[in-house]
């Protein structure tokens, strides 16, 4: 016993800190990403207070925010700072690194039958660069002038000129450094995921026997690998403009009492570069969430996912089209109207594979035998948010309609539901489902049920009314809607949204409690708690290096043989050889 403890002490640093084990790195991404997400969520609560009760004093704000909220009222420029960091953190730190970092790391080797990632060292490096990036982003909260405040898209010249907004000084520099590191971290991770999926599949694990989670992670990694370098380039050019006197993005500017010596640049160039990443980024968030949902819906319905090949096809189609639609963020930038027409066409095409996915989920539920685990509830919630948010995308993607709702709360409602909620629901569903694999213990289901219902009520309560604000013409990123009489009616709507936001945030307290309680006190997990087919449930509950104590199991069938006629059980793990004359759907 003491020998083990001694061994443990020696290895502490390498087991918990500089681990190259994909399971530990997955947990590191989960905890770090979620902590960032918690900060991002609390930020939204602070600015929701201002929007719901403009100008009212909340002394508690002053007590921890100091001169950001003199007399308990958030100032206008710090409001923008919080909006900016909320967006940055949620999109990149929680739903990109947190989501992919957790589940790609955990599941790619486990579901494919690999001992670890192709490069454990690169994987560790990816996490630690991400960690430094988080630290720098958080540090930017404490510098003079405050953190970046130009919106998460940081369009220059607002982000390029400290004279334009206080956050474009040191805060913006740190934002750019943090994001540059973040991109490096994502690239290291992405290459690793792709190589592992392509090369380290166990015997019998053909591409069409891979669970849909892995397909989603693979395409996500490819998207990231192609698009993130473009953002890095955009960021580097912005750094040059800010610090070294170039004018890639700047031209004809007069600010703070003087004309700047900049000429010939174009802010529109930045927008093109940004959205070339920015749009695929939406699918970098969505695809893993959809992959997780596919897995959970099939397992919990005790039924094969309907249209496995169509699901793969739709993932590939969405991934491909996502590179051809970035211009729909720029319909009203003065871009050539012909380009606008092209982007409308490609954008609305995305609805086709998305519709296929929704119909396939519905058909999977049809005549299923549904077991309501908390993970399944969130998966069903995701299907609902994906439909609700996806449909309003048909309005925003149509250039003629976009003119009038562009940059209004209609957009805020749309992308929070389709990307924010779907991404978060997918991530939470995944945590409930794979918690036993991550921590060897089970989460509390009662708290999980309460968490789901409060969250979906709170979330729709926050984001659905935003469509109405948008249709009333309320622009986003307004510190208050008090300055124009045409928005006088919006007071009650904003107050209602804020109340629902408080409910939704409070509900996350249940989840945080559940995670930490279950991590230490939860009941010990059985090896295959959801009676699932995939390979990760054939590994021992206690984590070991190399994942399987003996030989890596061989795969004989696709992962969705649930309730197959002729079988005694309602599931047949992938490791079970095909019976005489039995047909494999995946091969």
């Amino acid at each position: 016993m003491s020998g083990t403890a001694h061994h443990h002490d020696n290895d502490f640093l390498f087991k918990y800190i500089f681990s190259t084990d994909h399971k530990m790195i997955a947990k590191q991404f989960f905890i770090t990403g979620s902590l960032m997400g918690l900060v991002g969520m609390l930020m939204s609560l602070i600015f929701r207070l201002q929007l719901g009760y403009p100008g009212e004093s909340f002394p508690i704000l002053e007590s921890f925010m100091g001169n950001w909220a003199p007399d308990g009222v958030l100032t206008a420029d710090k409001y923008l700072a919080l909006v900016t960091l909320h967006g940055t953190i949620m999109v990149f730190f929680l739903l990109t690194a947190g989501l992919s970092g957790t589940f790609s790391n955990l599941l790619i080797p486990l579901q494919l039958g690999a001992r670890d990632m192709a490069s454990g060292f690169m994987n560790m490096l990816s996490y630690w660069i991400f960690f430094i990036s988080c630290c720098i982003m958080m540090a930017s909260l404490f510098v003079e002038g405050g953190p970046a405040s130009g919106g998460w898209t940081i369009y220059p010249p607002l982000s390029a000129l400290p004279e334009a907004i206080p956050g474009s000084g040191m805060g913006m520099t740190l934002w750019l450094i943090s994001m540059a590191l973040f991109i490096v971290s994502q690239l290291l991770a992405g290459i690793n995921y792709i190589v592992t999926v392509l090369n380290l599949r166990t015997k019998g694990m053909t591409m069409t026997r891979m669970p849909l989670t892995i397909w989603a992670f693979l395409v996500t990694a490819i998207l990231g690998l192609i698009s993130f370098p473009v953002l890095l380039a955009a960021a580097l050019l912005l750094i040059m403009d800010r610090s070294f006197g170039t004018s890639f993005y700047l031209s004809d500017i007069y600010i703070a009492g003087k004309a700047l010596e900049v000429d010939g640049g174009s802010p529109i160039l930045y927008e093109h570069l940004f959205w070339f990443l920015g749009h695929p980024e939406v699918y970098i968030i969505l695809l893993p969430a959809l992959g997780i949902t596919s897995e959970i819906v099939a397992t919990s319905s005790r039924k094969p996912i309907f249209g496995y090949r169509a699901m793969i096809g739709s993932i590939l189609a969405i991934g491909f089209i996502s590179f051809l639609v970035w211009g729909h963020h720029m319909f009203v930038t003065g871009m050539n109207p012909f380009l606008g027409a092209v982007f409308t066409f490609t954008t609305l095409l995305v609805a086709i594979p998305s519709a296929v996915k929704v119909f396939n989920y519905l058909t999977t539920l049809w005549k299923g035998n549904i077991i309501y685990t908390p993970g399944m509830l969130f998966a069903i919630g995701l299907v609902s948010t994906f439909i609700t948010g996806g449909l309003t995308g048909i309005i925003l993607g149509d250039s003629a309609l976009d003119i009038n709702v562009h940059d209004t709360y209609f957009v805020v409602g749309h992308f929070h539901i389709v990307m924010g909620l779907s991404g978060t629901f997918g991530m939470i569903a995944g945590i409930y489902h794979w918690f036993p694999k991550m921590y060897g213990r089970m989460m509390n289901k009662g708290l999980g049920y309460a968490h789901f219902w409060l969250t979906i009520i709170g979330a729709y309560g926050v984001f659905f009314p935003m469509h109405f604000l948008g249709l009333a013409g309320v622009p986003r990123r307004y510190y208050a809607n008090t300055e124009f009489p045409m928005f006088d009616n919006m007071y009650d709507i904003n107050e209602l949204i804020t109340l629902f936001a408080i409910l939704a945030v409070a509900a996350q307290g249940l989840f945080i409690f559940n995670v930490f309680y279950s991590m230490y006190k939860g009941p010990k997990a059985p090896q295959n708690p959801w009676r699932s087919n995939t390979l990760e449930w054939t590994t021992p509950v206690e984590h070991i290096h190399g994942n399987w104590p003996g030989e890596i199991p061989e795969v004989h069938r696709w992962p969705y043989d649930y309730s197959k006629p002729g079988a005694d059980d309602d599931f047949i793990p992938q490791t079970v050889p095909l019976a005489e004359g039995e047909k494999d759907e995946g091969h």
Binding site: A164, I255, A341, L365, I371, R477, M486
Partner: protein, 349 residues
């Protein structure tokens, strides 16, 4: 002190919750069921909550429509706006049934097919006919929407020609206000350059360009005539702004270093719109709709739409900006200055 109390309350709450969870989990173990196992009762409860939630969700949406329907933008006040609203309504007519039907199916299936240990799920891995069907139908519907949308987009974005006899206005944005410039009787805007900005010459107008001599600038409010095309040119001095005129279904970004354009035909005067909305205080609003700095939320300008005659009258009353030689406006005294003097005068402004 209050913060400390809140902290203590939170900590006590967490401890209490842990105890409750522990007791419940032990109670379940005593009954011989693992606390994490989803029981028949759990399944029933969750399945029954599904339709309850769906009804609540739909009821919430209907309530919002009833309570807030009147707060939405009034009918479009521009020619293309009416067409755009038609497209919007068509799109809603397509979207809403899809939304309702898929949600009913989702929550109905979730309720109906709850776990029953005596039943086996249907093994239904794929069906090519179904999959082709629900790829083809969305594709067809979207194709119609795309063609319909693009025809309107192309029409809306079509540049005006001289035959349209447009009113030309330059909308100039800076942190944090708007200026509207009318080209004056010559119908031409004078040149401008950021390097000439100074004092009251906030647009950097070039006094050496004769076209600028009769240009008129207005702030806080600008006026346009009804039923005549208005050609807008947008410029910005510092960061990206966006000129958003929601009542006209019009929006275009103002980007430093370039001139962007938009045109529309206003169809309702401010007075007419006051009758329609029943709001005697109603006026059209230009808003900034691209994050531009701390006072972004307060950057607006009023728009007044009047009859052609009232417009001409109003425009004649506006003063030209530069009081320099060659000025054709009667509202200004003619002076006899040299080019140099003019520049001097401008730089001292």
């Amino acid at each position: 002190m209050l913060n400390l109390l809140i902290l203590i309350a939170v900590v006590l709450g967490i401890i209490a919750l842990s105890k409750v969870v522990k007791v419940l989990e032990q109670a379940s173990t005593v009954k011989g069921v693992q606390p994490y196992e989803v029981t028949e009762r759990d399944n029933k409860t969750q399945a029954n909550l599904m339709p309850v939630f769906l009804v609540l969700y739909f009821a919430f949406i209907v309530w919002q429509l009833v309570a807030w329907g009147d707060f939405m933008l009034p009918e479009a006040a521009s020619e293309h706006g009416v067409v755009v609203d038609g497209l919007m309504n068509t799109t809603w007519i397509i979207i809403i049934p899809v939304f309702v039907i898929t949600h009913i199916l989702l929550f109905y299936f979730a309720w109906k097919y709850v776990y029953n240990k005596d039943r086996k799920a249907e093994y239904f891995p794929h069906n090519n006919k179904l999959e082709i069907l629900w790829t083809a139908i969305p594709a067809l519907v979207l194709l119609i929407l795309i063609l319909y949308g693009l025809s309107i987009w192309n029409e809306t974005m079509k540049p005006l020609t001289a035959e349209d006899d447009p009113v030309e206005i330059e909308i100039y944005a800076r942190q944090f206000d708007w200026t509207a410039r009318y080209p004056g009787e010559d119908g031409k805007f004078g040149k401008a350059d950021v390097k000439l900005i100074g004092g009251v010459n906030s647009l950097g107008m070039d006094s050496t360009d004769q076209n600028s001599w009769d240009d008129k600038l207005v702030k806080a409010e600008f006026v346009i005539p009804v039923n005549r095309p208005v050609q807008f040119y947008f410029r910005s001095q510092d960061v990206i702004h966006s000129a958003y005129m929601p009542h006209f279904r019009a929006q275009m970004n103002c980007v430093p270093g370039m001139v962007t354009r938009f045109n529309f035909v206003p169809t309702k005067t401010t007075e007419e719109m006051r009758d329609i909305t029943g709001d005697p205080e109603f006026y059209y609003q230009l808003l900034c709709n691209k994050i531009c700095g701390a006072a972004h939320y307060n950057m607006g300008m009023e728009i007044t739409v009047v009859s052609e005659e009232d417009y001409e009258e109003w425009l004649a009353e506006q003063k030209v900006f530069m009081t320099v030689e060659g000025n054709t406006s009667a509202a200004n005294e003619t002076t006899t200055e040299t080019e140099e003097e003019k520049n001097e005068q401008l730089s001292s402004l």
